[in-house]
C-alpha cells in the first residue's frame, strides 16, 4: 500500500499494534530512537522513576543538555537565581544517578537541545525523536518523526523507551517556486501558520514539500519544522535528500563505512510514495512571498512586513475578532499602522528557531559596515557553544560587537522568561524566536516574530524593516582584490 513519509516512519517503529480497529483501536506502542532531555521537564520524571524503583531503560539512547535556565553571561560563575541553580543541579544529579550523558554549561556541546542533537549527528532520517519540549518538531527536518511530549510521557520513555500513540492524520504543505532575496524559511513558516491558523495542524503530521523546500538548506528546514507546533501540529517533516546526507556526513554520531551505505540505502526509501494520499493539502506560493512579521499575541497573527496592523473588524469569526482586539491592546498597536512604522526597543537573534550558523551569517551580512540604531539593544545568542565557537572562528562575533550588539553564551535566552534575559513591561522586541504569546519574553513584553535578516535590518533602522529598506552599506575601507575575469584565465 502506498504510504506517506510519516506513515513509513511510524510503521517502522511499531513495537505492538494497538488492539481493535478503526475509531475503537487502542494506541500503537512505538519505539523511540532518541530521547533528548533538559532541566525543566525532567526532574519530576526522574523522581517518578525513583519512587517506582524503575531503571532508565536505555541511557544509550538518551542525552541531556542544560538550556532553558542557563544564563548567557558570566557562565563561569554559579547561577545567581537559586531556583534555576537548583533545577540545573537536579539535572546533573539525576543524570549521574541514571547514567545519562549530559552536556553542562561550559561544555563545548552544551546548548539548546534542538541545536545540539542535529549538530552531533544524533538526529538522523527515519528516527523517532522525542523531548519534553514542544519544539522537538525541529528534528523533522531530517525526515525523522519528532514530537514534543509532557513530563508523564518523558517518564514513560525513560522507563520503557516507547510511547503509546494513536496514528496522526497527514497534511502536505506544498511550497512551490523560488524565494525572492530577503525572504527566508522563517517567512515561509510564518505565512503557513497565518494561513492554516494556530489550530490548523491539530492531529496532523505536516510534510513540507515542493521545489521551494527542496532548495532549502538543512538549517532552513529546521527553522520550518521547528514552528510546526505553532500551527498546532504534532510534528513536521521534510523527506531526506542529498542536502540532508551532505549535512550529516562526518558528524560525530553519523554512521561510518558500511553503516553509512546501509543507512543511505534506507534513507532513500524515506519519501512519500507517488500514489500515497494526504488527508489535507495546503499550497503556498514561494514566488510571491514577502518577509513576514507578527502583529499579535499568537504566531498565527502575522502579516507581510509591507502590510499594516489589521483591524479586529477584518476578522469574520467572533473569537478571532475578540482575540485581535485583546492582542492589539496588549501589543499597544493601532489598527491601520504600517508595520514598518513600528519602533522596537530590542532585537533578539537566537532560539531553537534561528540560532544556527546560517542565521548568524545572514544577520552579520546585513549589519556588516552599518551602524546600529542607537536606541536599540541587540542580543545575539548562538544556539550552542559549538555554534558560538564556529562563529568566532569566522569572525562573526566581531561583526556583531562592532555593530554594538551583545555577543552572548548559548542557551534559550530571551525566547522564554526562565533566565535573566527578559523584556521589561511594555518593551517591544523584534525576535527571531517562535512565540509571541503574552509575557513569553518577560512579563508585559511585546514580541514581533521575524526572520534573522529582518531582525538585523530592524536593528539598523530602529523600526521593523526588511533588508531591502536599507541604504547601501558604505564601501569597505579596503577594496577586495579583483577576481581575474574569464578572458584572463589560462
Amino acid at each position: 500500500m502506498a504510504k506517506t513519509l510519516a506513515e513509513k516512519v511510524w510503521d517502522a517503529h511499531v513495537v505492538r499494534k494497538g488492539d481493535g480497529e478503526g475509531a475503537n483501536a487502542q494506541p500503537d506502542l512505538l519505539f523511540i530512537d532518541l530521547h533528548l532531555v533538559h532541566e525543566v521537564t525532567s526532574p519530576q520524571a526522574f523522581e517518578g522513576l525513583r519512587l517506582a524503583g524503575r531503571p532508565l531503560r536505555r541511557p544509550d539512547l538518551t542525552i541531556a543538555t542544560e538550556d532553558h535556565n542557563t544564563p548567557t553571561l558570566d557562565i563561569d560563575k554559579p547561577i545567581a537565581d537559586l531556583t534555576s541553580r537548583t533545577q540545573i543541579q537536579t539535572l546533573r544529579n539525576n543524570c549521574a544517578e541514571f547514567g545519562v550523558r549530559l552536556h553542562s554549561l561550559g561544555d563545548a556541546e552544551q546548548g539548546i537541545v534542538h541545536v545540539v542533537g542535529p549538530q552531533l549527528g544524533l538526529t538522523q532520517p527515519g528516527m523517532t525523536v522525542v523531548c519534553g519540549d514542544s519544539h522537538t518538531s525541529t528534528h523533522g527536518a531530517f525526515g525523522a518523526l519528532a514530537m514534543g511530549i509532557g513530563t508523564s510521557e518523558v517518564e514513560h520513555v525513560m522507563a520503557t523507551q516507547t510511547l503509546s500513540l494513536k496514528p496522526f492524520k497527514t497534511m502536505a504543505i506544498n511550497v512551490e517556486g523560488t524565494l525572492r532575496p530577503g525572504v527566508t524559511a522563517k517567512d515561509i513558516i510564518l505565512a503557513v501558520i497565518a494561513q492554516i491558523g494556530t489550530g490548523g495542524g491539530q492531529g496532523y503530521v505536516l510534510e513540507y514539500r515542493g521545489s521551494a523546500i527542496r532548495a532549502l538548506s538543512m538549517e532552513a528546514r529546521m527553522t520550518i519544522c521547528n514552528m510546526s507546533i505553532e500551527a498546532g501540529a504534532r510534528a513536521g517533516m521534510v523527506a531526506p535528500d542529498e542536502t540532508t546526507y551532505e549535512y550529516m556526513k562526518g558528524r560525530p554520531h553519523a554512521p561510518e563505512g558500511a553503516d553509512w551505505d546501509a543507512a543511505v540505502e534506507y534513507w532513500n526509501t524515506l519519501r512519500t510514495d507517488d500514489d500515497a494520499t494526504f488527508d489535507v493539502q495546503v499550497d503556498l506560493d514561494a514566488n510571491t512571498l514577502e518577509p513576514f512579521v507578527t502583529w499579535g499575541t499568537n504566531p498565527g497573527q502575522g502579516v507581510s512586513l509591507s502590510g499594516s496592523v489589521p483591524s479586529p473588524e477584518d476578522f469574520g469569526d467572533e473569537n478571532a475578532k475578540a482575540a485581535a482586539e485583546r492582542a492589539l491592546q496588549y501589543m499597544g498597536l493601532e489598527a491601520g499602522t504600517p508595520m514598518k512604522d513600528i519602533r522596537v526597543d530590542t532585537v533578539f537573534l537566537g532560539s531553537c528557531t534561528n540560532s544556527r550558523m546560517e542565521d548568524l551569517r545572514a544577520a552579520a551580512d546585513i549589519i556588516r559596515g552599518r551602524q546600529k540604531d542607537p536606541n536599540i539593544r541587540m542580543l545575539v545568542v548562538p544556539g550552542s557553544a559549538r555554534v558560538r565557537l564556529e562563529a568566532e572562528a569566522e569572525g562573526l562575533d566581531k561583526v556583531f560587537k562592532d555593530f554594538g550588539a551583545e555577543w552572548r553564551f548559548a542557551g534559550c535566552s530571551m525566547c522564554l522568561g526562565m533566565n535573566p534575559d527578559q523584556l521589561e513591561v511594555g518593551e517591544r522586541c523584534a525576535s527571531t524566536s517562535n512565540r509571541n504569546f503574552e509575557g513569553r519574553q518577560g512579563k508585559g513584553g511585546r514580541t514581533h516574530l521575524v526572520s534573522p535578516v529582518v531582525a538585523a535590518a530592524t536593528a539598523v533602522r530602529g523600526t521593523l524593516s526588511s533588508p531591502s529598506d536599507l541604504d547601501p552599506a558604505p564601501e569597505p575601507a579596503v577594496q577586495p582584490v579583483e577576481t581575474p575575469s574569464a578572458s584572463h584565465a589560462a
Binding site: 519530576q44 511530549i149 520503557t160 494513536k166 494556530t198 491539530q202 554520531h253 553509512w260 522564554l416
Partner: protein, 200 residues
C-alpha cells in the same frame, strides 16, 4: 492515578480563544522540581487583574473551566495541567484542545472534554446569567449538564477507559516488555547511540 467517573462543580466561563500554556503557567514557575504546589502559578499574570474571572466570587471555587477554542496551545509543559489540578479544576471544556495539552491531561486525570462551540456559547451564557451554576461532567455517558443544557462531549475511547479505570500508563506498557525487547533486537546497527559519546 485517581479514577474519574463523574464530577459536579462550579463552572467558570473563560471567554478566550488560544489560551496558551504560557498563560496557564508562565515559564518562571517551571523552575520548581516538584510535581505539586502549582496552584499559585495558575494564570498568575491574569490573576493580578482584579477583574479576571478567577478573582470574582463565586468563581474562585470553580472546578470546571469552560474555555474558548484552541485551549492549551504552545509549550508542552505538563505544569499547565498540574497548575489547573492543584488549583482545584477537575475538567476543562473547549471546542478544540492542543494535542500535547490533551495528552498531558489524560496522563494526570484532568478531563479535557471536547464540546461543540455552539454548546460552549450556551454554557457561557448560563454561567454568566447565574454565576455559581454547577456543571456536571459525566465521563461514562460523555455528557455535560449545566442548568437546562445537556451537551455531549468527545474524548478518545482509550483515554476515557484509562481515566475510568485510573490506570498507570507505564505499568500498562511494561506488560508488553517482551515485545519491546524483541523490537530492540531488530534495530539496525547504523542507528545512532548516545553512548559511548563521540565528540567533534
Amino acid at each position: 492515578m485517581e479514577k474519574f467517573t463523574k464530577h459536579t462543580g462550579v463552572g467558570v466561563p473563560l471567554r478566550q480563544s488560544n489560551v496558551d500554556t504560557d498563560q496557564i503557567i508562565p515559564a518562571v514557575y517551571l523552575k520548581r522540581i516538584t510535581r505539586t504546589g502549582f496552584e499559585d502559578a495558575l494564570f498568575s499574570a491574569w490573576r493580578k487583574d482584579p477583574s479576571f474571572i478567577l478573582n470574582q466570587e463565586p468563581y474562585t471555587t470553580g472546578s470546571v473551566l469552560v474555555a474558548g477554542p484552541d485551549f492549551g496551545t504552545g509549550s508542552s509543559r505538563e505544569h499547565a495541567v498540574w497548575a489547573l489540578k492543584d488549583y482545584g479544576f477537575k475538567a476543562v471544556l473547549s471546542s478544540r484542545f492542543a494535542d500535547i495539552f490533551r495528552g498531558n491531561s489524560g496522563k494526570q486525570g484532568l478531563l479535557a472534554a471536547q464540546v461543540a462551540q455552539d454548546d460552549i456559547e450556551l454554557i457561557w451564557k448560563e454561567l454568566e446569567n447565574a454565576p455559581g451554576t454547577e456543571v456536571t461532567v459525566d465521563l461514562e455517558s460523555k455528557t455535560v449538564v449545566c442548568g437546562p443544557i445537556v451537551a455531549p462531549f468527545e474524548i478518545d475511547d482509550y483515554t476515557r477507559w484509562r481515566l475510568l479505570e485510573g490506570l498507570d500508563d507505564i505499568g500498562l506498557t511494561l506488560q508488553h516488555e517482551a515485545d519491546i525487547t524483541a523490537y530492540e533486537a531488530t534495530r539496525p546497527s547504523f542507528k545512532p547511540k548516545t553512548l559511548p559519546a563521540r565528540l567533534s
